[in-house]
Symmetry: C2
Subunit: 250 residues, 2 copies
Amino acid sequence: MTGWVAIVGLGPGNEDLVTPDVRATLAEATDVVGYIPYVARIAPRDGLTLHASDNRVEIDRSRHALEMAANGQRVVVVSSGDPGVFAMAAAVLEAVEFGDPAWRDLDIRVMPGITAMLACAAAVGAPLGHDFCAINLSDNLKPWALIEKRLRLAAEADFAMAFYNPRSKSRPEGFEKALEILKEVCQPDQPIIFGRAVSTPEQSINIVPIKDATPDMADMRTMVLMGSSTTRIIQRDGAPLIYTPRSVVP
Amino acid sequence: MTGWVAIVGLGPGNEDLVTPDVRATLAEATDVVGYIPYVARIAPRDGLTLHASDNRVEIDRSRHALEMAANGQRVVVVSSGDPGVFAMAAAVLEAVEFGDPAWRDLDIRVMPGITAMLACAAAVGAPLGHDFCAINLSDNLKPWALIEKRLRLAAEADFAMAFYNPRSKSRPEGFEKALEILKEVCQPDQPIIFGRAVSTPEQSINIVPIKDATPDMADMRTMVLMGSSTTRIIQRDGAPLIYTPRSVVP
C-alpha cells in the first residue's frame, strides 16, 4: 500500500460547501487527523481511524500524519475553511522541511476549500470585490508590532481587509488595539462586518460603522471584514447588501 | 413563481471543485447568465436557458439577470472562481444600487466558490499560509498609479501577494511594470509562482526567483503568486513545495 497525505479544507461549516474533490479523498482515507471540532465533522466508518487533537499542537499533529503516511497509510489532515489560509497546510510543510528527509518523497497534496472570509463576504454581498488583504490577528506566532504595521499599511493602501482569529480568550486585548488603529486610520463610517459561524444554523451577522465597533462584537468563531473607503451599503427591507465596487475613479 | 438571482462561483475549472451548494442551485435555475467560457461549463437541459455574453459587459449582463428575476425567473449568474473576488457579485450589486428600486426587494444570494489564488496556492503547497493580499492588476477599472501604490505598500508590509488578471492582450505593459516594481522592492530570490489553467488538464506551474521573472510567463489564464520574505522552498525529486510559515520570529 502506498501512503499519502492530503491536507484538505472542509469549508466554513455547511456540509454543502465541501467540494466533491475533498469528499472523494476522505472516502479513500485510512486516517483523519485534525483539531477536535473539525475531526468531529467526519462521519466514522469501518477502516477509518479518527485522530482528534487539541489546538496549538499543529506541528506534532503534522509529524504524526507524515509518519503514518510513510508507514503506508492514507492520511487526510482536515482544516476548516481552506487549508492554505492560516491553517494546517503550512504546518505540515514546515514539518516536512525540518523532519525526516524521507518525508519529502511522500505524495503530499493540498486540496482547497471555501475559506471563511469568502463565505462571510458572500453572506453580506461582495465586500471583497476589489483589492483586499487577509491578516491573522493572533499574536501567538508573530509580534504585535508587525500586526500593527500591516494594519496601518493596509489602510494606507485602502485595501478591504479580512481578519482571521480576531479575538482569543487568552489575549482579548489584541483585537481592542486593532480596532483602535482602524478607528484612527479609516473613515468613521467605513463599514466593518462581524460574521459569526457563517454558513451554519448559528450564523449571525452584524454590520456597523467602524466608529461604533466594540471588541465584544467578535470572538474566535467570528470572521471580521473591514470595508475600504469605496465600500457601499445598499439599504433595503431586511439585511443590507454590502459591496466594494470593481472600479476606482481617480 | 418567485424569482431570484444567485451569483455563484464555479471554481477554477475542475468540476470536482464546484460545491454541492452551487450544483443544487444550478439544478433549480431557469436561466444562466455569464461570460461565454463560464456558461459553456453548464450542461444544457430542458427548462434551462443559457445566456452567454462577451467580457466587459458585466453591468448589462447584471441588469438582464435582475430583470429576469423581477419577472419571476430563477437566475444563476456564473463566475469562475469565487463570485466575490474580481468577479460578478460586485457588478450585480452595482446594478442593484443604481437600477430599478424594486430590484432591492429581490431574493439575491451570493454563493462562494474556490477562488483561483487558493487553487493555485494549493497546487504548489501553501504560499499564502501567512498574511497576504489580492490585487487585480488590470488597469481597466482603476488608475495604474493606484496599482503601483498598492504594490509598494504590500511589499513594505511583507505580504505574500496574489495577482489576478496579470496580463491582458490589449495592455501587456502593465505586468511588465508590476514586475519591475517587485524586482525593486522584494529580495531577488523571493519566489514568484505562475499557475496557468490550474486544476484543469492544461495546468502548468512555473516557479522562479523574482529576479528571473519575465512578463511572457503570464497570460490572462495565469494566476500569479508572489512569496513574502519568509516564503520557503522545499526542494525534492519532482516539483518543489512552497510555503509561507505561520510564524514570524522577530
